[in-house]
């Protein structure tokens, strides 16, 4: 069976996030405004005022409360949504960690914005990177339609009985948060149907006042390790589950995104570049242009950052001659891009090949076509066995 086509509306990424959340009929929404996420809160409030969103709206006094409120609501048995960005994510950090440890199936949109120390009301994935080890599922998306679709998928993933983990849907601030595109808005009953499978699953453990059971108790010694193990096992299951949900979504709504990663012209590629978020779209056009020149370059879009899609990446990259990674954030201490560092951990499995790190797009610097051309040229040279630079801060370096 197929879903109805859905209404086509020109909306921003932020609106798309709000639509995605609204369509899933959350019981509780709690969110605190911050640039560039504010529009999500405003749009949800508007939906509520218009009677389209029948959720409990909590006008919290800060992000920390937002995360605590939604995590508690999910553990009480509800469906809950929040959205934040940058310092907001930092301010809720303790609650972010707790939500994951509680296995609270919260869905959160995080509008990527710069964070540490240098004031920048501008795009960058550093906020997401700082919560990398929080135990959440982290997904990065590319455009407004994908935001809406992924938030719906995120509820299916988060609340799945086998998963029960919070999901963070990340999209670049400014470049995508304010990007108005034509977006197909699914019908509510179709979304209901897509999520209905959750109702057929066993009931997850909740804070039911009629049952004396406490959330967040002490895990002592091996019991603690057992719970950590279960958390990791759930994250591991989430990878395959995400692929399945993506496929289901595609079968029903006619749009799918490849699950954990999307490969673009990689099959016969000599070498590949890997990136995420808004840089992917632009990269596609540059790959097409380079292909037209006879350069056998492929592109990998990283959608799932946590859990890290090792198996998929190994399969996609193994046998290539080189790989370059464009990061919109830095890995302090490694002094390279964080996704690059992750990829290097796959070194033995993908086989010996040059792995190049490119840092670009911090603080809303545009990841332009010439920047991506440069990346492809550098990786092409490395693939040919020429010496290469491990880490390149693109906007800071003059091309020789």
């Amino acid at each position: 069976m197929k879903a109805k086509k859905g209404e086509l509306k020109v909306i921003t990424g932020n609106s798309a996030a709000a639509y995605g959340a609204m369509l899933c009929r959350p019981d509780v929404v709690a969110s605190y405004p911050i640039t560039p996420q504010t529009e999500v809160v405003e749009q949800l409030s508007k939906f509520h005022a218009d009677g389209v969103l029948e959720a409990e709206m909590i006008e919290v006094e800060g992000e920390n409360s937002a995360m605590n409120a939604v995590a508690a609501a999910t553990l009480a048995g509800g469906r809950a949504f929040t959205a934040t960005s940058s310092w907001g994510l930092v301010y809720m950090y303790d609650a972010v960690l707790q939500a994951a440890g509680f296995r609270a199936p919260v869905v959160m949109a995080n509008v990527n914005r710069e964070t540490p120390g240098i004031l920048a009301v501008s795009s960058g994935q550093q906020d997401m990177i700082q919560t990398r080890d929080a135990g959440w599922i982290q997904v990065i998306v590319e455009n407004s339609q994908e935001i809406l679709d992924t938030i719906i998928m995120a509820f299916r993933l988060a609340e799945d009985y086998d998963i029960q983990l919070p999901v963070m849907v990340n999209y670049d601030g400014f470049y995508i948060s304010y990007l108005a595109e034509g977006v197909r808005i699914p019908a509510k009953d179709d979304v209901d149907q897509f999520l209905a499978v959750l109702k057929t699953q066993p009931k997850r453990t909740i804070m039911d006042p009629t049952h004396p059971i406490g959330a967040g108790s002490h895990g002592l010694m091996t019991e603690f390790m057992e719970l950590r193990y279960k958390h990791c096992a759930a994250l591991d299951r989430a990878k395959k589950k995400f692929d399945e949900i993506d496929k289901d979504y595609g079968d029903f709504f006619g749009r799918s995104y490849g699950g954990q990663i999307e490969e673009y012209r990689t099959e016969d590629a000599d070498f590949v570049i890997l990136t995420s978020g808004s840089a992917v779209g632009t990269s596609r056009t540059v790959v097409d242009a380079k292909r037209a020149e006879g350069v056998k370059v492929g592109l990998i879009k990283l959608r799932m950052f946590r859990p890290f899609p090792q198996e998929k990446l190994i399969k996609a990259i193994k046998g290539k001659k080189a790989v370059g990674v464009i990061d919109r954030s830095v890995n302090f201490g490694w002094n390279s891009g964080p996704i690059y560092t992750e990829l290097r951990a796959l070194y033995p499995e993908i086989g010996p090949m040059p792995i190049l790190s490119f840092i670009d797009g911090l603080a809303s610097i545009d990841i332009t076509k010439p920047h991506i051309e440069r990346v492809i040229d550098d990786v092409a040279n490395a693939a040919k066995g020429k010496p290469y630079q491990a880490v390149t801060w693109i906007p800071l370096e003059e091309r020789e």
Binding site: D27, V28, A30, A55, E56, I58, E59, V60, E61, G62, N64, S65, A66, M67, N68, A69, V70, A71, A72, A73, L75, A76, G77, G78, A80, D94, A95, Q98, M207, D208, P209, T210, H211, P212, I213, G214, A215, G216, S217, H218, G219, L220, E223, L227
Partner: protein, 320 residues
């Protein structure tokens, strides 16, 4: 021989339910906190969800993932997230149509300090839950450090007495008054020595939470942290009331009322000499505390002269 069968005292009528806690739990001998929790479970019954945080109450409330120390649903929070988590729970139960007493249970360190923002936020939003703060005037669980409700002059491990130090050098934050100023439906102070008053206020809390946030501030001296013999904790509660150090009052929809009047208050020294944390104080310093107690009580008295929200003052000329 006919066995004498006697009628239980009136106080027992407040205990609607059996104690939800296991017989033996990890509270210090003589701790009023243990009494507060057990009484709370007896008065409020089983449609109660406790929301708490790391504190002296944590080892008992949290349980372990192989079992629990009590039969109440419990939600464990971080220090920052008690009132906000309670908000999330309350709102979901509301949406789902379940009538639940969501009861936050924290010490003053959480309520007045690190968790205050979320408490204040929940009060402003007038969320339908009960916040119980057990006031032991410091961070007792972590080893007796000062909090913002530690009284002036009191010694703690972070306000020690030495050549230069004379204990805490600033006034305590008057949290129950601050909470009442949020214009919530019900704020009350209570303590263990006045058990009927305490139980009545807990009962009232369950009613008033239907209108919005309820804040109960329960005076809970810490036998270990304050240097009190373990059999003296209730006596200290009683003396705190008798000296007007901790007056028992309630504010219902803005109408302040003393629920226990003290005809001739004892001098504060009768209270301060009961435990160690004020031992070092000179007469002059004690006079400062006495003045502060008098001022706070006079201030409270003035508040009782006003009518409820939306009503004119009862005797405005008294305010002059």
């Amino acid at each position: 021989m006919v066995e004498k069968v006697r009628k239980l005292p009136k106080t027992f009528q407040y205990f609607k339910d059996e104690d939800a806690f296991a017989g033996g739990v990890a509270f210090c001998a003589g701790c009023p906190l243990e009494l507060t929790l057990r009484v709370l479970s007896k008065v409020m019954g089983r449609q109660t969800v406790i929301v708490g945080t790391p504190s002296c109450s944590a080892p008992v409330l949290y349980g372990q993932n192989v079992g629990a120390w009590h039969k109440l649903p419990y939600y464990s929070c971080l220090m920052t997230g008690v009132a906000s988590s309670a908000t999330g729970l309350t709102r979901y139960y509301k949406k789902a149509g379940q009538d639940v007493n969501v009861v936050c249970f924290t010490g003053d360190g959480c309520a007045a300090d690190i968790g205050f923002q979320t408490l204040s936020g929940a009060a402003e939003r007038n969320e339908n839950f009960i916040y119980v703060c057990y006031e032991n005037e410091g961070y007792m669980n972590t080893g007796i450090q000062r909090s913002s409700t530690t009284p002036i002059g009191a010694t703690t491990s972070t306000t020690p007495v030495g050549v230069a130090g004379r204990g805490k050098n600033t006034q305590a934050k008057n949290l129950p008054l601050i909470m009442a100023m949020h214009n919530i439906p019900y704020t009350a102070t209570a303590t263990l020595s006045h058990m009927d008053d305490l139980a009545k206020k807990m009962q009232k809390a369950m009613e008033k939470k239907k209108e919005g946030l309820v804040y109960l501030h329960i005076f809970c001296p810490c036998p270990v942290g304050w240097g009190i013999e373990s059999d003296m904790s209730i006596q200290v509660c009683r003396e705190a009331v008798k000296t007007n150090y901790f007056p028992l009052w309630e504010a219902e929809n803005g109408k302040f009322k003393l629920t226990q009047t003290v005809s001739s208050p004892d001098p504060i020294t009768k209270y301060t000499k009961m435990f160690k944390k004020f031992n070092h104080l000179t007469e002059k310093e004690l006079a400062v505390i006495q003045a502060e107690v008098d001022h706070n009580f006079a201030f409270l008295k003035h508040l009782t002269e006003f009518g409820a929200h939306g009503q004119p003052a009862e005797s405005p000329e008294n305010n002059a």
